[in-house]
């Protein structure tokens, strides 16, 4: 029992108590330095837990030792990343200022940054550390979700570094490399570095080649890990995304690449998995026997907001449909993963994305539109062609709707209607599962005229929550059935503001958890869906809709032909 070299089970409680009690003595006066001593027993191992025993036993390789302070049952302890550096390229951009830096601050404020975390900015500015710290502080102050505390900031500020330079400047990247080496000594980051590429797509190859040249991307040269975070767009069609994936995957290992789709960091999207797979209520009806159709909508009330250069070459389908909408479709339609680790989840998503079918009659089953001037929320809105820097006669779409199918037994014959658009009446993203009508209604026809299809709506943003629509009797002497909704609002059930998507995703990058990041197979599968649409659309001009309308008339007609209508979100 006492031998420490055996993986012995914990001793019987009786013995343990005896040992501990004899040692737990109070020194009568406080002069002595030791007030009390909590000892595990007469022998050091006597009350030691299993974890501690394993840990005491193993003296060959400390790396393989489980952390004795961690316990799966100890749910209070959050996972905190290893000491590491986050290198942000394009740190002066909008995304970095509005999302990344505030997310870093929020993580620090919640105690989720490790001791020895460094935020390293890289941009073409003639700046010192002080200037960058000023910018970072201002953006944390303005955009952080949690309360701004000087204590917390001052500790983050100590570990903020800036390296000036342009992407084709070899000397600047050498300096960056040297800075990272120095940080191992001063901050103990042990070679752990995540590179965040918050830069326009044309700059990707330059930066990746620089990382390759300086061997910064090569984790085999250091004791720690190297990771890279890439923002959308992941290419503009299948060949270009393949090239990009190839480039990224040659510089980094595939499991070191994190592609950010910030929708997947949202609580409601993760809740979709909880809704489906943690309950018994929904999964039995989650198939073509009960589901009539599925509508996935992402509407924005804003226009293109100064992104003219990028947007005009991309359009709504490449900007939103290829990534966000298809990811939402995948999570809605996928089979139950065997576990919630990243590989199991990706396998299921990949299967669904691979099973998506494109309609034969693209003319009848797809719609693209472009907004004209109109009125939105009580204000004049200019048309797309009048926006700044849009070339005259541009045929880029700002609205795209498509009917897709998922060729599996579960979804055979169920249409998936996807739509996205800019300058629509309100900003909303939702997934609506529309159920079939009851096969038989034992009421008089006039009783149920106001009864529609049952619907289950997952609102992704804003007002995150779930709505269930079903028929209910109207109070009164006559039998009359009309639709009512039952609402679950995240905001009122859990009023604590949910972590921002970037906060969650950044933490996952530092922890090395790839569950919420699409891999290159998913990206390529998505392009396989979008490329034929783009090819077809290139031959015809977009339909028009007034800013402030729910898209072009053709969009409504597309559903009307099949006896359905868009849900008004």
């Amino acid at each position: 029992m006492a031998g420490g070299s055996h993986k012995a089970p914990a001793p019987p409680p009786q013995e343990a108590a005896e040992g501990a009690r004899t040692r737990f003595t109070r020194v009568p006066d406080g002069n002595e330095q030791t007030e009390t001593a909590v000892t595990p027993g007469t022998e050091p191992e006597a009350t030691t837990s299993q974890a501690a025993l394993r840990y005491l036993d193993d003296d060959r390789d400390d790396r393989s030792v489980p952390n004795p302070l961690r316990d799966a049952r100890d749910r209070r302890l959050p996972r905190v990343p290893d000491p590491s550096a986050l290198v942000v390229f394009g740190v002066t951009g909008d995304l970095a200022r509005k999302k990344l830096i505030p997310a870093v601050y929020d993580l620090g404020n919640r105690g989720l940054l490790p001791p020895g975390f460094v935020l390293l900015g890289f941009a073409r500015r003639d700046w010192g550390h002080g200037d960058f710290e000023q910018l970072a502080r201002a953006s944390a102050l303005e955009h952080a979700r949690t309360e701004f505390r000087d204590d917390v900031w001052s500790r983050i500020a100590e570990s903020v570094r800036f390296v000036p330079g342009s992407f084709d400047d070899d000397a600047a990247f050498d300096e960056l490399n040297q800075t990272l080496v120095d940080l191992e000594g001063t901050h103990g980051i042990a070679g752990n570095v995540a590179f965040y590429l918050s830069i326009p797509p044309p700059a990707f190859p330059t930066v990746l080649n620089q990382l390759d040249r300086t061997k910064m991307a090569d984790s085999s040269t250091t004791a720690g890990w190297r990771r890279v975070v890439v923002e959308k767009p992941f290419g503009h069609d299948l060949p270009s995304s393949r090239d990009l994936n190839h480039l990224v995957d040659t510089v980094f290992q595939p499991d070191e690449v994190f592609r950010i789709d910030h929708y997947l960091g949202k609580e409601t999207v993760q809740n979709l998995l909880a809704l489906r797979f943690a309950n018994t209520l929904f999964e039995p009806v989650w198939n073509s026997n009960y589901v009539d159709s599925i509508q996935i909508t992402m509407a924005e009330d804003v226009g293109i907001e100064g992104r003219a250069g990028f947007y005009d070459t991309a359009g709504a389908a490449r900007d939103v449909l290829q990534n966000h909408l298809l990811q939402l479709l995948a999570l809605t339609a996928m089979e139950e993963p065997v576990s919630f680790d990243s590989e199991a989840l990706r396998i299921e998503k990949r299967k669904v994305l691979g099973a998506i079918s494109i309609p034969d009659d693209l003319d009848a089953c797809t719609v693209r539109g472009q907004y004209e001037r109109g009125w939105l929320a009580g204000q004049r809105a200019r048309g797309y062609l009048d926006e700044k820097d849009i070339p005259p006669g541009s045929t880029t779409e700002t609205y795209a709707a498509v009917r897709l199918g998922v060729e599996t037994r579960r979804w055979a014959g169920v249409p998936f209607y996807l739509r996205t658009g800019k300058r629509l009446p309100r900003r909303v993203t939702e997934i609506a599962v529309v159920f079939k009508r009851a096969p038989h209604l034992p009421f008089a026809k006039t009783d149920t005229v106001e009864l529609g299809n049952n619907q289950l709506v997952v609102r992704v943003q804003p007002d995150e929550g779930i709505t269930l629509r079903f028929g209910s009797k109207v109070p009164g002497s006559a039998m009359e059935v009309r639709e009512v909704s039952m609402d679950f609002l995240y905001g009122s059930a859990f009023t604590e503001s949910s972590p921002e998507a970037y906060e969650r995703l950044l933490l996952d990058v530092l922890l090395g958890d790839t569950t919420l990041f699409p891999d290159h197979n998913e990206v390529e599968a998505s392009w396989r869906v979008v490329d034929p649409l783009e090819e077809f659309w290139a031959t015809k001009p977009p339909e028009h809709y007034r800013a402030g309308e729910w898209g072009p008339v053709a969009g409504d007609e597309m559903l009307a032909r099949e006896g359905r209508r868009w849900r008004r979100p």
Binding site: P13, Q14, F24, T36, T39, A52, D71, R76, L77, T186
Partner: protein
């Protein structure tokens, strides 16, 4: 949106709550838990503030029970709040007098949210035996706070004697940031511990629990040394790192910023704030399952073995204070 009821009955309180909810548009449709707070009159304000903060993370129906003197005539005063000064929660503040204080459950039971878990929280000196308080018996989770006792260390030992799975103490909750930091330090570079030390204000129950946890997890002796505070001020662990001896130390002399030092590495500063009561309560409401790790730490620090194996069921023990006084 407050209804105040003087010298009322439990039935009228239920009616007032229903009426207030309807007027307020049934704001709290997503109730996750009922929180029963047993509070001394002098602690009512701090309890309300803390519960309001905790309710932002975990929507709850808050039932505050204030037991006044027993030796007077029976009487119930109640205040029903929906969407008022207590934030988005629905709350009922009840003051009980006379023999009613011994039968508080008769008022509380019909007010519990249907099928939601019940958490009872003593924002006062912890009871000696929870089974004697029917409001503790009906809860699945019982939260005490030893630091409010005149002798916190004795109170902590009392909690161990009386322990049943489902009990927790805010003294344990206060150790979470320390434990989180220590665990992440071991994540980064595992090493074997030879001994550990915890320095804290004299009579700090959190320090005892932290020492108990370290001893249990690391399998080493943990010394407790008194310091001038506030709270826990330092944790040190002597390491055997490969073949080299070393040590790590986290010291927090001011209750705000900690310095982390480890042999062979530069010192680092990081925030380690003492948290507000509301944040502690929110952490307790976050997970309502049995906290076995707490049971083990309490077991280790008190020397009473087998706490985690006890039955989680409590049966109410009737103890009449009037009879106790005569005896």
């Amino acid at each position: 949106m407050t209804t105040t009821l003087w010298d009322t009955t439990g039935g009228d309180v239920v009616k007032a709550l229903v009426a207030e909810r309807r007027a307020g548009g049934a704001v709290a449709s997503g109730l996750a838990v009922t929180l029963v707070a047993i509070v001394d009159e002098k602690n009512v304000v701090t309890a309300e503030q803390a519960a309001t903060i905790a309710a932002q993370a975990h929507p709850c129906r808050l039932l505050i029970v204030i037991r006044r003197q027993v030796d007077t005539s029976d009487r119930l005063d109640a205040e029903v709040q929906v969407g008022g000064r207590l934030g988005p929660t629905e709350a009922v503040v009840m003051r009980m007098y006379g023999r009613l204080t011994l039968h508080a459950e008769s008022v509380v039971l019909p007010l519990l949210a249907p099928d939601a878990p019940v958490v009872t929280w003593w924002h006062s000196e912890p009871p000696k035996a929870i089974a004697t308080d029917s409001l503790g018996v009906l809860a699945g989770r019982r939260v005490t706070d030893c630091s409010l006792a005149p002798d916190p260390i004795a109170a902590l030992r009392g909690r161990a004697v009386d322990f049943a799975p489902g009990d927790t103490d805010l003294a344990w909750t206060r150790t979470t940031p320390w434990r989180s930091l220590l665990a992440s330090v071991f994540d980064a570079s595992p090493a074997r511990a030879r001994s550990a030390q915890v320095a804290a204000e004299k009579g700090n129950p959190s320090a005892s629990l932290l020492a108990g946890w370290l001893s249990h997890r690391l399998g080493v002796t943990t010394e407790l040394t008194p310091s001038s505070g506030p709270g826990i001020t330092e944790v040190g662990i002597d390491l055997l790192d490969g073949r080299d001896e070393g040590s790590l130390k986290i010291s927090r002399p001011d209750g705000r910023m900690a310095t982390f030092s480890r042999t062979g590495q530069p010192d680092r500063q990081l925030p380690l704030l003492r948290r507000e009561l509301g944040d502690l309560l929110a952490e307790e409401l976050r997970r309502l399952e049995v906290d076995e790790v707490y049971a083990e730490a309490l077991s280790q620090s008190s020397g009473i073995a087998g706490l985690a194996e006890r039955s989680p069921l409590r049966t109410h023990l009737w103890r009449d204070p009037a009879l106790t006084v005569e005896a």
